[in-house]
């Protein structure tokens, strides 16, 4: 008898550990497997019971409800409700039925997240039993340039936000002549509203290890680093445990899987600097320095970590690679729209009724994600605004809900898909306050290397304060517009360059929050 309870830190933040402990205490014969989370975070703690009909779910379960559930037959599979139409006495109020059949799960196309919430993230055997290593085995039988071609053909673009074609980056590194090359994974997931990197690291870390090993073979690298933010201690622990297990099985180190590939993988922990999610700043930090941004060129693909050719990719980019190699580029490229191929792991957060992870092909609309999957707000009030793509992404009103999730469509609307995070706000939000916060955040987190970002953000806070106070509003709006232009055009990296995006979108779509007569004042100002 197996019962599955997530160890994911979001699930644990609402009591999953206590639920697992209680089940183990009253049913010592039961094997409690701690998995990642399925991503239905509003149902956490979600307990799943192995039955002949598949895994049946109950949630959200509180620790104090465990005794009652067990007494009512939880462990006999007698509480399913959904399978036998309640023949055994009716559905329990927490019974969800077979988890794979839930509409939220059925409507998704899980590729990168296929194993998250299903497998035991600490078990290498479980990983292999669920299709793990198929991609690496195929890649090792291929020439490096063929692996690069396969990834290029898949249309995979960087999932960290910038959307740069992964195959092209890899080709540059492969073509660079150097004895020493690196693969670096950016797991500095600092954007509010994004948590998919964390969930993959906690729920299926072997997928990242496999993806990085395939990358190493493809570009000729021998050493890899995963830079994980310090705010994610559980992810760090899960990844370190998986790396140890991978070494023991010969999946890392000398002669990976008996091949000629040598690849060593290390975990490095950040130290509370948002800017280290910017790739060159992350490289500085990995070198043991202040995390300040490097001017480009040179690009990291040619002069990256310690000046050597370096692949820098996000967790979800590298985590998508095993599936692309296992199932072929075409299967991945068949999903999506336009130049946005494959799936994206969207994340619903903030004031949302059903928050969590939705992995689906690009092209799904913003409205489908927020309304159909998310179910509107958790407060029950109307949705007023959503911020897409993190603190540097645009605020959009419900009138934009028909926008397809597609890099180009969002860019054309003055917004960005970014890392796929969507934060929902209800009608109590003050958008002038959120615009101010965007500048405040930039001022707080700027690395200080370039003036438009370091000084511009501080001036931005002051200017928005004056606009909010109704002080010389028209002149200050012109000033804010100029400042946004300067930051966009003159900043060294996306931190200063994109901070104007939430500010401008808030002004454009929610002008009424900046003062009664703003529409008149705005003419020519932005």
């Amino acid at each position: 008898m197996k019962v599955f309870v997530p160890r994911d830190s979001a699930a644990c933040s609402v009591g999953a550990d206590e639920v697992a402990e209680r089940i183990a205490a009253i049913a010592p014969d039961v094997e409690v497997v701690r998995t990642g989370s399925r991503g239905m975070l509003w149902l956490e703690p979600l307990v799943e019971v192995d039955t002949p009909a598949g895994r049946v779910g109950y949630g959200p379960v509180l620790a104090e409800q465990v005794d009652g559930l067990v007494a009512a037959g939880l462990l006999d599979g007698g509480l399913d409700g959904g399978l036998d139409g309640g023949l055994d006495g009716g559905a329990h109020e927490l019974s969800l039925g077979p988890v794979d059949e839930l509409p939220w799960m059925r409507a998704q196309q899980r590729v990168t997240f296929a194993r998250v919430g299903v497998v035991d993230p600490r078990s290498a055997a479980d990983y292999e039993a669920h299709g793990g290593l198929a991609g690496l085995r195929r890649a090792l039988a291929m020439a490096p340039e063929d692996v690069v071609a396969e990834v290029t053909a898949s249309g995979l673009r960087g999932r960290g936000g910038a959307g740069f074609p992964t195959g092209i980056k890899w080709k540059t590194v492969l073509g660079a002549a150097s004895e020493l090359k690196f693969v670096c994974c950016n797991a500095d997931e600092g954007d509010s509203g994004t948590f998919a990197d964390r969930m993959l690291l906690e729920g299926d870390p072997f997928t990242l290890i496999e993806g990085m090993t395939i990358t190493a073979h493809a570009v000729g690298a021998t050493e890899g680093y995963v830079y994980v933010r310090s705010e994610y201690p559980d992810a760090v622990a899960a990844l370190r445990a998986a790396i140890d297990a991978a070494y023991l099985r010969g999946w890392l180190g000398e002669r990976v899987l008996g091949s000629d590939l040598r690849f060593d993988l290390h975990v490095r922990v950040g130290a509370g600097a948002y800017i280290c999610g910017e790739e060159t700043s992350m490289l500085e930090s990995l070198e043991g320095k202040r995390g300040t941004v490097r001017p480009k060129p040179p690009i990291p693909a040619l002069e990256g970590l310690f000046g050597k050719p370096t692949v820098v990719n996000n967790v979800l980019t590298l985590g998508s690679v095993p599936a692309i190699l296992a199932d072929g580029a075409q299967a991945f490229a068949d999903l999506g729209v336009g130049r946005s191929r494959g799936t994206q792991v969207f994340q619903l957060g903030g004031n949302v009724a059903r928050g969590g992870v939705v992995e689906t092909a690009f092209g799904v609309t913003l409205g489908e994600l927020v309304d159909t999957f998310g179910g509107g707000t958790s407060s029950g009030r109307p949705v007023r605004a959503v911020q897409v793509g993190g603190p540097l992404g645009a605020y959009l009103p419900v009138e934009k809900f028909d926008l397809p999730m597609d890099y180009e469509a969002f860019a054309a609307s003055g917004a960005m898909v970014g890392h796929g995070g969507i934060v929902v706000f209800d009608d109590t939000v003050d958008m002038s306050k959120m615009a101010r916060f965007a500048m405040e955040f930039c001022a707080e987190e700027s690395c200080g290397r370039c003036t438009p970002c370091r000084v511009g953000a501080v001036r931005g806070v002051e200017t928005i304060d004056r606009i909010r106070a109704g002080q010389d509003r028209k002149a200050n709006l012109v000033l804010l517009g100029d400042l946004c232009d300067l930051m966009t055009d003159g900043s060294l990296c996306a931190m200063g360059g994109l901070t104007p995006m939430p500010v401008r979108s808030a002004l454009k779509h929610f002008a009424e929050d900046f003062g009664a007569d703003l529409n008149a004042d705005l003419e020519g100002a932005t």
Partner: protein, 158 residues
């Protein structure tokens, strides 16, 4: 390290920590993390010793220690409480929770209560964006923290 000048024991530990990372590339961050894990903070007095051992200038070490918010320059309270005030948590009342916490603890974010029990910090995102407002007590996450639940969590600590 407590007294401001490195005593013999602390100096030996610093040397041992640096030695343990001798083979690592760019080892300063891992070393600082381990120092903070053992001593609770990174005393400014260790900077010259680290610089010496790592063949860096004191300015380089000082620059790194002060760049990263994680590294504390003085001892924290017995428990550190971090309240997320990034956008997703703001959407469900994080600002109100932070105000409540400051009033309830009688200290501002970034400071420690007078009895040395609790250090209150703000943080931008703990990766629990669907179950906010989120609070970390030590390294333990708590989701959907209302002001009342915050007081209950703190009640367990004091």
């Amino acid at each position: 390290m407590q007294s401001g000048t490195t005593d013999v024991f602390a100096a030996a530990r610093i040397d041992a920590i640096v030695a343990a990372h001798r083979g690592d590339r760019g080892a300063l961050l891992p070393i600082l993390h381990q120092l903070q894990a053992e001593f609770g903070f990174v005393d400014p007095s260790v900077e010259p010793r680290l610089a010496d051992l790592l063949n860096l200038s004191v300015a380089e070490v000082h620059g790194v220690v002060t760049f990263y918010k994680d590294f504390r320059r003085e001892p924290p309270g017995r428990v550190t409480v971090r309240i997320c005030r990034a956008e997703a948590c703001q959407a469900v009342g994080a600002e109100r929770l932070l105000e409540h916490a400051e009033a309830s603890l009688g200290t501002k974010a970034g400071a420690t209560t007078e009895d040395g029990a609790v250090t209150l910090d703000e943080v931008f995102c703990l990766g629990n964006c669907a179950l906010g407002p989120t609070v970390a007590v030590g390294e333990r996450l708590h989701g959907r923290v209302s002001p009342a639940r915050f007081d209950a969590l703190l009640g367990d600590l004091r």
